[in-house]
Symmetry: C2
Subunit: 452 residues, 2 copies
């Protein structure tokens, strides 16, 4: 064996025990809430055929797909001439690639499993994706995505449920002060239409998407720079300047775009949603880049932290068109789960402390290790996590181990302790210690657990 | 967009909701038990530098590593001449690869994080690995591994704890009738030594490993075929013919290999373990192929099912040697988690039924959907999972949806029901239905949950 300097592949990360604690805590909350709302988990393979992936993410996206070299004799279909055309060679030597997002695999899954699933199909999926992006602070080549979708339904009940789900979820994560912003692409199309800008719709959306970052003044300048006429500029900026309640906003926009049928449809959809769940803020400047959204779009931000969008999504007309399956409209929401991990890491929420209910069984001498094994079994039978150090370490080093591993309690085992069934039970958090029997320690730990 | 016939990459699988239910149920039990025994979770990236991986799995293993094509201009370091040497070209166009197992990444992790972790380091890891194997029944190119290791300790307490952990785990999974078989490579070396076969040790291990499959008679024939002299053959087969209790076996072997120091060390280790935990069966015919095991080796099989080994592992002298870090002995156990998924799938344990505590809110007419939303919120606030169909479906189709999604209860919402707070509450399992208020339904669901 050759000695190798250990290193991580560019843009990848290890997650040690502390990090995993936070990640699993968050993922469990996500799963529980999705389950509460009747969504069911699926997983798709990390590796997809290249045809499944390419053509969905635009030219730039396609370049970021990690391709897998064919196994065995990877050159068998190629010859030296292919060398001059690297694209051709590429497709001959790699026919599979790593998952780039969770949406395309979902579309493939639904297309392949029409008979097995029931419509509407409500699924969630929490899995890593890979992108050959240039790594930078906060951007990695492997990261988790977390998507929730309804497939095969046009009902506004979906939006109503998604709003509730989002608030329930962030409440559970103790991320308060969030704002659920909602818009409808049909309204944006209406705005374009009444201003004679239907052909510039995508460009307009890109500009509108920037308002949040650059402000209205600069947005106005951008419109002028793009040669929009002054009447149009005035009429458009007026819309984004309008403030008021949801009802005021919807009445205002209804008048502005009254000559656009599409626009009126969008207004109707928002009104219908307001009837059943109005726990959102209408924001006409929300455009969301992805062009496949066709109706409701939404985004959630924290008012307290400038960490950006926590989640976002929207309605699409047909998820599975690319795989030849028609009439599969749906609505999806994607959670920025990596951002949420970071947010909670910064908060240092005590709930996230590892080993909340864990005991380190320490021994005064390693000859008591067999006794420790018996005590460990007793405690574990009661559901209490127990660690003990397998080797002969001085008590001081054992306590250091407890600290390093965030173990909040230490129980010290020696000859007298065993004889008298009276053990020193020490809290590593505040240093306090008492003398307790095994049963007393068990009930202390159990009461801590039930207070969680 | 081009229409694409949807397909899975060779050797990969989708996991739909039913399948995911089993997988997550099992993984949660694993995590809880590992936590109970003080092990902590880590995750390593799916992608590793190629140098980290190759050279660890033998030539055959190296061929099964999935390599990733370099991104961007993947040919920039190559020219047409490389075409004649595909191995050279391969290394120039792919510098990363997919994780092949969890042991090498663990060794890299420990080597890179010596300062952060505390020794002994107790970690578990449950993640997929990828192998470019020829797919066949039960063998996939992407599958989960589940490893538990102690790093940096020689203590026999590890073996004692692992035995307890294994029994606790399979008990929780309701897989009874398991047998924890244990041996020690030093004893096998002793057997080789006293028979003058030290140079043939690896060959001998391979043969011994087969006893389980081919039986002792064929094993004897194999020894003869390999030109072992008749005295040796007799002396070796006698060992594997010996039956008795652990104590009888260990006393027997102690005499047989009394002239081998290494053999005696192995005997001493097993005796020491018997003093603290004798919940295992000594099996001298257990050899375990992997040559890096140096002391205790073990394997667990189900006596009832012939599904093969459920888990296995052993002690190694140095995990991190390859990365230049010395003195990191340890002991590891690897669970055949994919086999365990299959085993439980076959058993159809009712605990595994999805949606055990889930209600489908059905409506007699879709105009009651807004009422359903209010009721759903009430139930979910009490921790009850609720699904409702967003679209206008006839009641019969709603019930069909409940069946297809394994939802055990249906609550029917109509005008009279809302006015009188008395809802039809139907069990989909036995067809029984009662009239209940919302509060009554909540307490029924809660009592079901607490009976779990």
């Amino acid at each position: 064996m050759n000695k190798v300097k250990p290193s991580l592949a560019k843009g990848t990360r290890d997650f040690g025990p502390e990090e995993m604690e936070i990640r699993e805590y968050v993922i469990n909350i996500f799963k529980n809430i999705f389950d509460l709302f009747g969504f069911r988990s699926i997983q798709t393979p990390s590796i997809e055929n290249i045809d499944t992936l390419t053509g969905n993410y635009g030219d730039e996206g396609d370049k970021l797909i990690f391709r897998i070299l064919n196994s065995g004799d990877f050159l068998k279909k190629s010859d030296e001439n292919d060398f001059k055309e690297s694209l051709k060679l590429k497709s001959k030597i790699s026919s599979k690639a790593l998952r780039y997002d969770l949406t395309v695999p979902l579309a493939r899954f639904v297309s392949m499993n029409q008979e097995k699933i029931s419509i509407p199909f409500k699924r969630y999926q929490i899995q890593p994706v890979w992108r050959a992006d240039r790594p930078q602070k906060g951007r990695f080549r492997e990261f988790y995505q977390c998507d929730v979708d309804y497939i095969g339904t046009n009902s506004i009940v979906c939006e109503a449920e998604i709003i509730d789900l989002v608030y329930t979820l962030f409440d559970k994560l103790k991320i308060y002060d969030i704002d659920f912003k909602l818009n409808n692409r049909k309204i944006l199309q209406g705005i374009a239409e009444v201003n004679g800008l239907s052909d510039n719709f995508n460009e307009l959306c890109v500009l509108i998407d920037k308002i949040d970052k650059i402000g209205l003044e600069k947005f106005e300048k951008e419109l002028i720079r793009k040669d929009y006429n002054s009447k149009t500029v005035k009429s458009i900026t007026e819309i984004f300047n309008f403030n008021g309640s949801n009802l005021e906003k919807i009445n205002f926009i209804e008048k502005v775009i009254s000559s656009s049928q599409l626009g009126k449809d969008g207004v109707k959809e928002i009104k219908k949603l307001m009837d059943v769940n109005d726990n959102f803020t209408i924001d006409f400047s929300l455009a969301r880049g992805l062009s496949y959204y066709t109706s409701s779009i939404f985004e959630v931000k924290s008012n307290k932290s400038n960490i950006g969008s926590l989640c976002g999504g929207g309605r699409y007309d047909n998820l599975t068109e690319n795989f030849g399956l028609k009439d599969m409209p749906g609505i999806g929401i994607s959670f920025g789960i990596e951002r949420i991990f970071e947010l909670l890491k910064e908060k240092k929420d005590p709930v996230l402390q590892d080993g909340k209910n864990k005991i380190l069984l320490s021994y005064l001498d390693s000859r008591y290790l067999p006794n420790c094994l018996v005590i460990a079994k007793k405690l574990r039978d009661e559901g209490i996590s127990v660690d003990l150090i397998s080797d002969n370490l001085k008590l001081k080093k054992q306590l250091k181990y407890a600290n390093k591993n965030n173990i909040p309690f230490v129980m010290i085992v020696g000859e007298d302790e065993i004889k008298s069934n009276s053990f020193t039970f020490k809290s590593m958090e505040n240093g306090k210690q008492v003398k307790n029997s095994i049963d007393e320690i068990i009930s202390t730990m159990k009461s801590l657990k039930s207070n969680e």
